[in-house]
């Protein structure tokens, strides 16, 4: 049995991205996790925004963090399923 940790939504998304962006995203993620990397990113404005955006996107993809801002993805999806069943939508 594999002991590998389950793939996170961010991992799955990065895996879907083509090279060379995939490598770029992995480097940005790694830099954003280290104090020295963060200092380096601050000197590169576009990369800084991108790295921060990716980290924040992962944070708010988490249902608990999104719920704190009023977004309940599970409820939106469940309402969709219920409506489709009720009205015979595809």
């Amino acid at each position: 049995m594999s002991t590998a940790p389950p793939q996170t939504p961010l991992d799955a998304w990065v895996a879907a991205v083509p090279q060379p962006q995939r490598t770029g995203l992995r480097i940005l993620r790694a830099l954003a996790k280290r104090p020295g990397g963060v200092r380096l990113l601050h000197r590169l404005a576009p990369a800084d925004q991108l790295a921060y955006g990716i980290t924040a996107m992962e944070h708010f993809e988490d249902p608990a963090n999104a719920a704190a801002l009023g977004w309940d993805a599970a409820a939106v999806a469940a309402r969709g399923r219920a409506l489709r069943r009720e009205e015979g939508r595809p």
């Binding site: 799955a12 879907a16 576009p46 993809e61 977004w71 939106v76 999806a77 489709r84 939508r89």
Partner: protein, 493 residues
């Protein structure tokens, strides 16, 4: 995934490559008209039960390359494309515009497309609009994000309105671009594809078409590789290529077709776009309602259109043009954030070619389009200020004002790629003729955004669908229902 069990070879009247805006429409019309139709789609069939309303997860699943396809050039531009039955109609905002009459006039004048008049296309548009339940968004469904933009436009006296969309029973889930969980958005994967299947068309997903078979300048069919292994050959006297503006020229080129004009893969037009955020005093809750429900077209004649855009927190977190503490503070006030999109009808042109089997897209933003972005960003800021914004976050580096922005300062995405196998009546100027038939080859047709010979200035899905409808009826040898004959068109007095 639907898969043909045995046959390596299928006989059909028409083989269609791609099940997006063009291919699915042509498939349904042809199958219902009595033709034996096979559709080969590279992507999968998506199940709405798995639409989670979580942007990152859905981007990986519904978009080609996770939505991170990109142009090479100055600046690099993200070019997201859908993947699967429905193509990009699966993930677009559902906005529906007919081709503007002035664009059709230009096509007649510059490209000799005299048959594509507003009168000739009207029954095609009407047929598509009925099939997709196209209607205007109501203010209630549009939500408070649209209300902010409307308030600004009204204060400034700018022309505006609610958009028409292909939606039925929409409840404003706010995630059109990440898989509609209610199946309210009438994308071609749940409208035209089922119609085609009901009329007997075979839909093969996971089919990577490698070449179009031609003998003595006549179409013979196509050959494809299947996702699970094996090859499939479809023999058909008519082939419709509808793989999309980026992939159609690659398929034609590797089939040795469409090169005579020198235009294949060239003339790539885009709608480069960007998003502007505003911090409001009021609660906006931008993801509650239809994200793209409202437009401001005051500057359309200058090639600048504002259209709504919005999304859940994770989408906003990725798009917000801030970092560090300012980003965190703005996200903390997500319920008060409003967002709107700026789209440019470009005069820049790019190209697409194959590099190692993948598309290499070149596109440099020209000075005219840079000017449109500068102007558009200034006016967008004005719009939000007029609506009462406390702060406006422009997609520019800190300290750069719109008037001083350079190409490299812009943070762009692009939508609606068009033109890489453009239609032109003259074989030495275009890849297909006005009837979407490949110049110089009998039986090969193109029905996707690649044939559209100029930027439209509006979302193109209806244009592509109307052209596909016209092509289908032409192959059936019939008039499009509701078509008015030439004698019946009232003459202008």
């Amino acid at each position: 995934m639907s898969r043909l069990r045995k046959p390596r070879r299928i006989e059909a009247d028409v083989c269609i490559v791609g099940a997006g805006a063009g291919g699915a429409v042509a498939a349904a019309e042809l199958a219902e008209g009595g033709k034996r139709v096979v559709v080969l789609e590279q992507g999968p069939r998506h199940d709405a039960d798995r639409f989670s309303a979580r942007p990152m997860e859905m981007m990986a699943r519904l978009y080609r390359d996770g939505g991170q396809g990109m142009t090479l050039g100055s600046p690099p531009i993200l070019l997201p494309l859908g993947r699967g039955l429905g193509g990009t109609t699966l993930v677009n905002s559902g906005t529906c515009f007919r081709t503007p009459p002035q664009v059709l006039e230009r096509w007649q004048r510059e490209f000799g497309l005299e048959q594509l008049t507003p009168e000739a296309l009207a029954p095609c548009f009407q047929r598509v609009e009925e099939a997709l339940s196209v209607g205007e968004v109501t203010p209630e469904l549009a939500g408070r994000n649209a209300a902010v933009a409307r308030r600004g436009a009204e204060a400034l006296g700018w022309s505006h309105g609610y958009l028409k969309r292909n939606a039925k029973g929409c409840v404003g889930s706010g995630v059109c671009a990440f898989g509609c969980p209610t199946s309210a958005k009438q994308h071609t994967g749940i409208t035209y594809v089922p119609r085609a299947e009901a009329a007997g068309a075979q839909i093969v997903t996971g089919a990577d078409v490698r070449g179009i078979l031609v003998e003595r300048d006549c179409a013979q069919g196509v050959e494809a590789r299947l996702a699970g292994g094996g090859r499939l050959e479809v023999r058909a006297a008519d082939v419709i290529v509808a793989a999309g503006t980026i992939h159609t020229p690659l398929l034609l080129a590797r089939s040795g077709l469409g090169r005579a004009s020198g235009q294949l893969g060239r003339n790539l037009a885009l709608h480069p776009a960007t998003g502007v955020f505003a911090l409001m005093d009021e609660v906006v809750d931008m993801a509650k309602g239809v994200p793209q429900s409202f437009y401001v077209d005051e500057f359309a004649a200058e090639g600048i259109i504002f259209e709504g855009v919005a999304g859940p927190p994770s989408y906003v977190a990725m798009s917000l043009p801030l970092s560090g503490k300012r980003h965190a503070e703005a996200m903390g006030r997500y319920p008060n954030l409003a967002m709107f999109g700026l789209m440019v009808s470009d005069s820049s042109r790019g190209s697409v070619r194959s590099l190692g089997g993948r598309p290499l897209i070149r596109y440099d933003l020209g000075d005219e389009d840079l000017g449109r972005f500068r102007t558009g960003l200034m006016r967008m800021e004005e719009l939000f200020r007029a609506a009462g914004a406390r702060e406006v976050y422009l997609p520019l580096p800190t300290g750069v004002r719109p008037a001083d922005a350079g190409v490299r300062d812009l943070k762009l995405m692009a939508f609606h790629p068009l033109g890489t196998a453009r239609a032109d009546a003259r074989p030495d100027h275009g890849v297909v003729d006005g009837d979407l038939a490949l110049h110089g080859v009998h039986g090969v047709h193109v029905a996707d955004g690649s044939v559209v010979p100029s930027s439209l200035g509006v979302n193109p899905q209806l244009t592509i669908m109307a052209l596909a409808t016209r092509l289908a009826y032409s192959l059936l040898g019939r008039e499009v229902p509701g078509a008015t004959t030439e004698e019946e068109i009232p003459c202008p007095s």
